[in-house]
Symmetry: D2
Subunit: 306 residues, 4 copies
């Protein structure tokens, strides 16, 4: 850990801001008033589902995480129920972060502390996380969403791997799109990177380097009191990191210091096309995680409703 990283973490740290017992972090910024105001963004009734398909043909390479495997425990062919009906059931085995997902605030940490000062070794064990687990976000992520389409801003289908999105890029996108990002908003950032897998089918390339937010964007998000942030790549931030020797530094500052939940592998293409067509980049956004007790992440199918 570099001195600069530790200094940035200390500068942006939200520990104690929502109480010594808080386990939610910045999603606390989505107040009831914000939810009511966000409802005004529902104008056309169009619904966009941002989850990627969950199946054995997903983007995971198997080196780190695997794709979901689903099994039929019955198909209905093996027996007829009394009365003549038949039923089918299935099971799944999957990493909770294999697809479209939220990182819990317990997903990453450094110096043995989680968000809000909880000791990590004591609270993240083989049994799961007893602090900052994903179920604490179960009702907290519904409100105003804003899309910033950086690929479109740059005039490309997708940003190149290793491209760092800067605070200036975020400002430029706001200006170009005529939208503001404010307190309690959920920010969705489109890099176009999802197409490496979705269009090209190239898992290895998708999972290797990627374009994404630079570490300095943490200040931008903090200054605007953003509630949560997500992107269409697999790690939100630029890979490899610009800071030599660091691994996922933006994750560490957002999750551990700011208490900001991170969303990954959100499919933003259909939504972005619609936003470009009607010039409206805000929407009502609901993205509750599943309530896996003690989990450090959760798959979900987020909805943007315009």
């Amino acid at each position: 850990m570099t001195d600069a990283m530790r200094a940035l973490g200390a500068e942006l740290r939200n520990w104690g801001r929502w109480g010594a017992d808080d386990q939610r972090g910045t999603t606390n910024l989505i107040t009831p008033e914000k939810v009511v105001a966000a409802a005004g963004a529902i104008r056309t009734g169009k619904v966009f589902d941002l989850g990627i398909p969950l199946d054995a043909d997903g983007p995971q390479t198997g080196h780190f995480r695997s794709n979901p495997r689903r099994f039929m425990s019955r198909t209905g062919q093996e027996r007829e129920l009394p009365g003549g009906g038949r039923g089918a059931d299935d099971w799944v085995v999957m990493p909770l972060q294999a697809g479209t997902q939220w990182d819990a605030l317990s997903h990453m940490f450094y110096d043995d502390h989680l968000y809000n000062g909880y000791p990590a070794a004591a609270h993240v064990t083989a049994l799961g996380a007893t602090r900052n687990a994903i179920q604490h976000q179960a009702k907290g992520i519904a409100g105003r969403g804003v899309l910033l389409d950086i690929a479109r801003l740059k005039g490309v289908d997708r940003l190149a791997a290793g491209t760092a999105i800067t605070p200036a890029d975020l400002d430029a996108a706001c200006a170009e799109q005529g939208v503001t990002v404010g307190a309690g908003d959920v920010l969705l950032v489109r890099t176009g990177w999802w197409s490496v897998f979705a269009a090209d089918g190239d898992r290895e390339r998708f999972m290797d380097a990627e374009p994404g937010l630079s570490l300095e964007c943490a200040r931008w998000l903090h200054a605007r009191d953003v509630a949560a942030v997500a992107a269409d790549n697999w790690a939100l931030e630029v890979l490899p990191a610009q800071q030599e020797g660091l691994t996922l530094p933006l994750h560490l500052v957002l999750l551990r210091d700011m208490g900001m939940t991170i969303g990954e592998m959100f499919d933003l293409d259909e939504l972005a096309a619609d936003c470009a067509a009607d010039g409206t980049y805000e929407f009502f956004f609901t993205a509750p995680p599943l309530k896996f007790t003690g989990a450090v992440g959760s798959p979900l199918n987020p909805l943007a409703i315009k």
Copy 2:
């Protein structure tokens, strides 16, 4: 299968209503106009998450389905990443219908046909469902929700096992609560039965008999063009069935003939208390399933937003 059941199925059958290729059924009734109108139900900004916790201590007894098992594939203690960060990850093994869930239209069937006339044996195999699988509902379930609190109507904490909720009960609840149920609405029915597990911790009793909708409610739902229906028990319908010798007849008519998606184990208690307090039983409702390709059901965490 009785003649009466087959006659009821034929009477309420929606096959072809939304085209020969439709795989969504009654959620087609949630039109963009309905979504926009439903946004008006967001008045206070209160968010209610209706999903039950997903963990090894859930309501499943293991006889039929098991509770989710989650494993940490790493805790962060086993190694430090370059730069000093640490990360935790987890996996889950679970039946897709172990908790709060939607039944896909391929979940139950009879006479070898699924909703919209698809042959069942050909389309539901060990690989999954190639028609009417859950991913077809991925963007379809967001709109107006209405709660009918039958336990409160009857003045009890919970209805007794085996209690059949009738169309007259549904009408009485509408009148008592001052709410109407119309085209494109998602209906949530509260029986109080969830408390058998949640308060008493009695899995065996919760999963044995239960109060729920009678078979005749299918006509009531059909007449009003309800988009989807869910309850706080584990099978929506009364158990045992009133029709001797039949197994889950309401499932068969709703899923297979009407094409109506069924929700189970929705935790409605907190929402119901709020509705009783402010007298408002409608809300904005978002309940997208996860996009498990080919699945016959999906867990989710539905939100009611008032």
Copy 3:
């Protein structure tokens, strides 16, 4: 940990006996000469398989461990392969100690040390065991087996729960059966307790208290240089422990101090009946664990060959 326990552990400790790098413990006692000698016990060609069935109807209650769940990933009905053949495949999800199994020497420990002095926290993590894992026994467990049938010795179908088998009982069984237990032998102890599940179908009772070896038997096993020990109950040792406040003390001394692998849920009934019939309680015994890298236990199907 009591002083008495620590003293017993120190007295029987085999650390360093087979080298500072050893990860096998007492199975080192099965030398090639012992294997050749054991072959002489094959006289009739009768083969006894001691593994219990592995399926969802097994003895696990789900509180601690669950029974195996097997899924068909294909049945052959979903498609014909080129040329007209069809194939079926299956997957399993299971705790490695759900059925007949060996405990690895990394399964239990105290004072942060494993057998042979390896630090436990450093070597048993969420990734598995990097010392004393089960694969180190992969070729080591084949040789002479001896059955001591304590239930038969006492003239009962099964010993009562809580019955402690003493060194004197083991000696009496040797005398009664006309058999000796010596260096490099694998000892199988029959309590009759398996019938609580196998005959009565009572999982809860089977998994609650049980008859089994007393802690003092550790000295008896050590004095004879037994190579491994197994029984037909689920924990080898008497439950509850005779030493107030201790949990599985015999496990701790055998696995951690002596380096003796423990076998559990061996179905000994058919073998015992045959031994009683012909008066021969020795046999050739092969019981290799599966080679799960880093695992703290393994299911297996042991064979006794007479």
Copy 4:
């Protein structure tokens, strides 16, 4: 299915040979007398374990089957048990045919019939196999084993992919090695192909084409009344098949017509080196599958004892 294939199946068919109810097939040929005679092959006490490691780094590519995933359900660090001990446990998720394994007689079939004439669609469903499942081999596979080292015969480290081993090759190996293969023997065939994964680490190549037994070897195995056959590749037989348009024809004839259990991915290298050194290619062989009820295959760790 070609006429020639159907004719070969009819010629070698063993249906009814061991009774109309038999579910074991050719392992019936290992009589008690054969077991006793085989014990004579234990001369030096050397034990060779033929199972491959079971972990996430195994030979499966994930296209068809995946490698085993093991999870720690506890490491012992999360809590101290009463008395001061600590315990670790693990679970596994795996295809039953991911590593060293036996194919059950229900694994492959054609013309809707399994070995011994059982209808396939009725007996192999999403619940598993109700005829010819692997548990019927639980006690049947222990006796004389013979290794035929075809790679060594041909003077190569490994045969090339697509190389068909002929009956003449098998005869030549017997002559060269000074060994006979007779009734009730288990035949192990070494192609050297395992080194493509074990030495080169090339999963894709290992799982693509392979050297192996030609279809005509079925007659050779039948004529000698071999009890079971296994090899060090992943499918026993040569791939691609020599018969245009057929998929795994030797599997179909052995499993479905002859009732002969097939072993795959047996690691024969250490055993082969020893056999070459002492000129003795026979041994005592124990290879019981795990008793997975209804399974179409099972992992195992076979032992060859010389």
